[in-house]
């Protein structure tokens, strides 16, 4: 068993010495239960300690280890060598983001977009602590729960050609998060957020490719969130025609 190996191509980029990325091939011992992330850890521990990649929880909760596995956005901890063996695996940093170093990307734009959509509950009026909690029924929670499962891994941005073509587009995860707050019964910030939605760079940058929902490791379905927001934006447009703000 321990004799089996698998070849892994890693796209390397060292900003202090390289002008552009290059591919380095490693041979890693293969076992059926080994994840891509574990393979990378093996490379770092035993073959080349200079390889950089992000990781933390190892169980698809932290959203740190996103990368391109054979050009498909995946979490390293949730993709397994057995699904590729005996073929060679190619690992590249998440597409559509600038490369910081090796498999590490610059996610600043993504984080900025998450912040811009006002991802917090905006209540109708601030309640005093003594007045108790904001309550919600399970049915009210069901309306947004799916869209709240995002772990900010960025796979959907790597899957989105519209973001690749024009990174002014707000993008899948941020719009799904926006839908999550707009659909929350405790929230009253819809009017503020619809201004973001209604823009060209809001939902209208989306052409419903649908790949974001395919690659999402948490089944958030950002494509659905965006389609529902398009319907809301259209209603808002009609209302705006009769009642300009």
């Amino acid at each position: 068993m321990s004799e089996l190996t698998i070849e892994i191509d890693v796209l390397r980029y060292r900003p202090e010495m390289d002008n552009e990325p290059f591919t380095q091939t490693f041979e890693v011992p293969y076992t059926a239960e080994m994840s891509i992330l574990e393979a990378l850890q093996y490379i770092k521990d035993h073959l080349d300690s200079t390889v950089s990649f992000r990781w933390s929880c190892r169980m698809a909760i932290c959203g740190s280890c996103g990368l391109m596995v054979n050009s498909v956005p995946k979490l390293g901890c949730k993709a397994f060598l057995r699904d590729y063996y005996p073929q060679k695996i190619s690992l590249e940093p998440l597409a559509n983001f600038p490369i910081e170093r090796d498999l590490v990307v610059v996610m600043d734009d993504f984080i900025k977009k998450l912040e811009e959509i006002k991802p917090y509950i905006i209540p109708e009026k601030e309640k005093c602590l003594s007045e108790g909690t904001y309550q919600q029924t399970p049915e009210q929670m069901a309306k947004f729960k799916q869209f709240s499962m995002c772990i900010n891994c960025g796979l959907c941005y790597a899957a989105c050609p519209q973001y690749a073509l024009d990174n002014k587009f707000t993008g899948p995860a941020a719009l799904a998060l926006l839908a999550r707050y707009n659909r929350d019964s405790r929230d009253n910030g819809e009017a503020e957020r619809m201004k973001i939605v209604n823009q060209e760079e809001g939902v209208w940058g989306c052409t419903f490719v649908g790949y974001c929902s395919v690659v999402c490791p948490k089944d958030v379905d950002p494509a659905a969130a965006i389609q529902l927001l398009k319907v809301e934006s259209s209603k808002d447009y009609l209302i705006g025609m009769f009642k300009p703000d």
Binding site: K195, N198, T207, K230
Partner: protein, 133 residues
Amino acid sequence: MSKTTEKTYKRSHEPVFWGLFGAGGMLTAFLTPVMILITGLLIPLGIIDQHYFSYEKIHGFATTWYGSVIVLVLVALPFWHTLHRIFHALHDIGINRGRDWQQVICYGFAFAVSVFVFTLLLQMLTAPSLFGF
């Protein structure tokens, strides 16, 4: 609260085109296959006899008020669907020059054909029929 300069947001007019796109897409998804099957294959191949699609029959239908509306919708609405897709596909394949003009040409084309068909139907509806009756 500190006074931060609120970002200005610009509303897109896309809902107008998206609405027409959606309506056209719905129609195209449900009816275009059977329409192609009838007018493009079954009638020309004689599987459905041509007298079911004769001039008298079609003209008679297109010159009723409801018939003309149906014909207009069936013929013109798909353009608003397809030209919307073509407009966005141009961006997808990297043709970024003159997006404004691309938009005018794409939706202008859909509009022009719609007006063309509308005018023909109106003319048939109002003009005394040359044949029949």
